[in-house]
Amino acid sequence: MQSSRDGVSLTRRQFVAAGAMGGAALAVGCTGHNQGDWDFLNDEQARTLTAICDQIVPADDFPSASQAGVLTYIDRQLARHYRRHRNAYRDGLSSADAMSWQRHGRDMAALSAPQQAQLVAAIEKENSAFFNLVRSHTLEGYYGAPRHGGNRDAVSWRMVGMGEPPVRGRAQYDERKGAAS
């Protein structure tokens, strides 16, 4: 998927559209969430989480966390394997927005990128359990197997220089099959 290399010059919507045009079946269900489209998150939580995740893995010439589908990864797991972390996300995201209102009088998603970076640093300090959870899940979604909804089109693997393996074996069938639990 060529588009992801140019991700930095595209808006998220354009990037998503380009991804879909690339024909990746993976994009279905990973992107373009409409209102209420998430398995667990609500839209407000998703906006705040996007702001945090995109500070953990910001965009450069390769996509940011949310552009690579990390929100889909986390949301999907909060409905599955990470059900036990639901309360931590509910509380952590609302406290992140509370901090944002206290300091800047606005939702976290509405802050400038430098303000968001400062706020994430503050969350890391003051609510380290929540931050560490989100950091782990963000990096799992970004660097882990695309089958779980993140790392769209294996973009992080291409970023680090780990190309397609010379022998693909079953991998091609697995990818076509889509998400595992």
Partner: protein
């Protein structure tokens, strides 16, 4: 249920071999396995859900639902853990056990590893002992394991191992780039590098093809079936005799005894959760160190109120694993060549002979690290998140080598398995409680081993290094778990005799890593296999002579 000659509990490294040896000798065998039987089609290259990285669960068991354990952390008290959480000390639950998805390093222990107390004396607070058997006793059975399971590699570069009669049956895989970088550096340091022995086909062997050298090895099942475990060698042989029946998804509940205190069968829950009783002449427990101890402790009766074989409070003690230490080196040239399995070169110069240290351990380069495994293994002072973290992933993913090794563990009686008084599994049985810590001297050895790893990497050209020699607060067991049903001549200080026979129950055997008195400075799989052949041999001879009738 029709009586059989033998019930083997656990179809892993040892249980598969015992089932094969007994069934080929003509005994009727039921092999119970609590997990499922996976095939190459179940090989999901899922870097978040396998047996090494388990953030989304274990690929090869146990499932997270209904299989808790409790770990006693001196700082936080008891914690109930899921099988996919780190402190659970999981191995696997499936046909083949850990050998389905292991990295497959298959070492012989050194002669000194069986005589640790005689050589070094027991450090204060330790329960360091000699084995009742020697390297020479096991040598023919190491060879049998190497040929029947199928081991590739080449020890000839290292002068430190015990004598052997035959070379390994397969040559090593061709060296990958890390091997080529590390080998001359080791030689410049005066070390003796060699090819890691691996239970992996380097050439066609046993009717299966060679390794295709992919990057998904340790933690994964092999998609081309080139990795050799009990599930693709001895268990099919056992089933082909017609004398062995494998029952999967069957969880052993207890060893049943008669009124004279002899084993008369095994009670287990079948795949539908129904309680069954399988009568038999002899019982062999091969469920891996933690679960074997738990099964013995859960087998209570009038004659064995504290669990069978536990008259002297030895079952569950001396729990060992391997405290791994080492270093990561970062280079200014590409070290990554995408040629699996990655781990390829070892030195065994440091296993014994350092003044002041009770042993040491092998040092090896690590298996291929998938990107998810690199996120916390970047150069010192790399920020944990943000653009700098992303850039470091990009810069160093293909430019790092990890060298590490298993430290010879110094056993302690207080590192142990007991039954948790409160927590039960989905069948209503008391679960294993893990308590105790790693002996302080093990940490001391580990620190020296990490420094040696760092020196090797620097000699190889690393421009910076990170040393990993942490001090966990709880015992280390995991996939190298051992020691909970110690082998010995003294019934008061051990659970089984040199033939793996429980001291006061002559038709009950524990045959797996549980019997290890010490755990060597190497991955234990091949030693577990050699002991399984050794013990099966004496068991069959005993059977032919007496039939275990008393």
């Amino acid at each position: 249920m029709k009586k059989v000659n033998a019930v083997v509990v656990g179809a892993g490294a040892a249980g598969g071999i015992v089932a094969k040896e007994l069934s080929t000798a003509g005994l009727s065998v039921v092999l119970l396995e609590r997990g499922r039987w996976y095939t190459a089609n179940d090989c999901r290259k899922d870097d978040l859900r396998n047996q090494r990285t388990t953030v989304l669960g274990n690929a090869f068991g146990p499932d997270d639902e209904g299989n808790p354990r409790v770990v006693w952390d001196p700082q936080t008290g008891p914690r109930t853990l899921l099988p996919s959480e780190g402190g659970y000390q999981n191995n696997a639950a499936c046909v083949g056990g850990g050998t389905l998805s292991y990295g497959a390093m298959a070492w012989r222990y050194m002669p000194q590893d069986f005589r640790m107390r005689s050589i070094y004396g027991a450090p204060a607070g330790s329960s360091l002992e000699d084995w009742p058997i020697t390297y020479d006793d096991l040598e023919p059975w190491y060879e049998k394991a190497e040929y029947e399971i199928g081991i590739s590699g080449d020890y000839s570069g290292s002068p430190f191992f015990g004598p052997r009669k035959r070379p390994l049956p397969m040559p090593p895989l061709a060296p990958n780039r890390e091997f080529q970088i590390l080998e001359p550096a080791a030689k410049r340091l005066g070390l003796h590098p060699f090819h890691i022995p691996m239970a992996r086909n380097s050439v066609p062997y046993n009717g299966r093809g060679p390794c295709m050298r992919c990057r998904w090895c340790v933690g994964f099942a092999c998609e081309v079936d080139a990795k050799n475990g009990s599930q693709n060698t001895v268990i099919p042989t056992a089933l082909a005799t017609g004398n062995c029946e494998l029952r999967t998804e069957c969880m052993a509940k207890e060893i049943l005894t008669d009124d004279r205190g002899r084993a008369r069968g095994v009670a287990y829950f079948d795949a539908d959760g129904r309680l069954q009783e399988q009568p038999c002449d002899i019982v062999i427990v091969s469920a891996c160190a933690i679960e074997s101890a738990r099964l013995l402790l859960n087998s209570k009766s009038r004659l064995f109120p504290n669990g069978i074989g536990n008259r002297h409070d030895q079952v569950g003690r001396h729990l060992q694993g391997h405290h791994y230490t080492g270093a990561v080196g970062f280079f200014d040239f590409d070290t990554y060549d995408d040629v699996g399995p990655g781990a390829s070169i070892a030195v065994a110069d440091y296993n014994h002979g350092t003044p002041g240290l009770c042993g040491g351990g092998a040092l090896c380069n690590e298996f291929i690290r998938l990107p998810i495994q690199m996120i916390d293994r970047l150069p010192v002072n790399t920020p944990r998140w943000g653009l700098a973290h992303k850039k470091a992933m990009r810069s160093f993913y293909k430019r790092n080598i990890a060298v590490m090794g298993p430290t010879q563990p110094i056993p302690m009686a207080d590192a142990r398995i007991t039954l948790d008084p409160a927590v039960r599994d989905k069948w209503g049985m008391q679960v294993a409680r893990i308590s105790g810590n790693v002996h302080p001297h093990t940490f001391e050895i580990g620190i020296v081993q990490a420094q040696r790893s760092e020196a090797w990497l620097k000699e190889a050209g690393a421009v910076s290094t990170v040393v990993n020699a942490g001090r966990p607060t709880t015992v280390s067991a995991g996939q190298h778990q051992a020691g909970t049903c110690r082998m010995g001549n003294d019934p008061q200080g051990s659970v089984v005799n040199r033939n793996c026979q429980v001291h006061d129950v002559d038709n009950l055997f524990v045959i797996d890593g549980s019997v290890h008195v010490t755990n060597g400075g190497f991955n234990p799989a091949l030693t577990i296999m050699a002991i399984a052949y050794f013990a099966s041999d004496s068991l069959v001879r005993n059977w032919n002579a007496t039939g275990f009738r008393s």
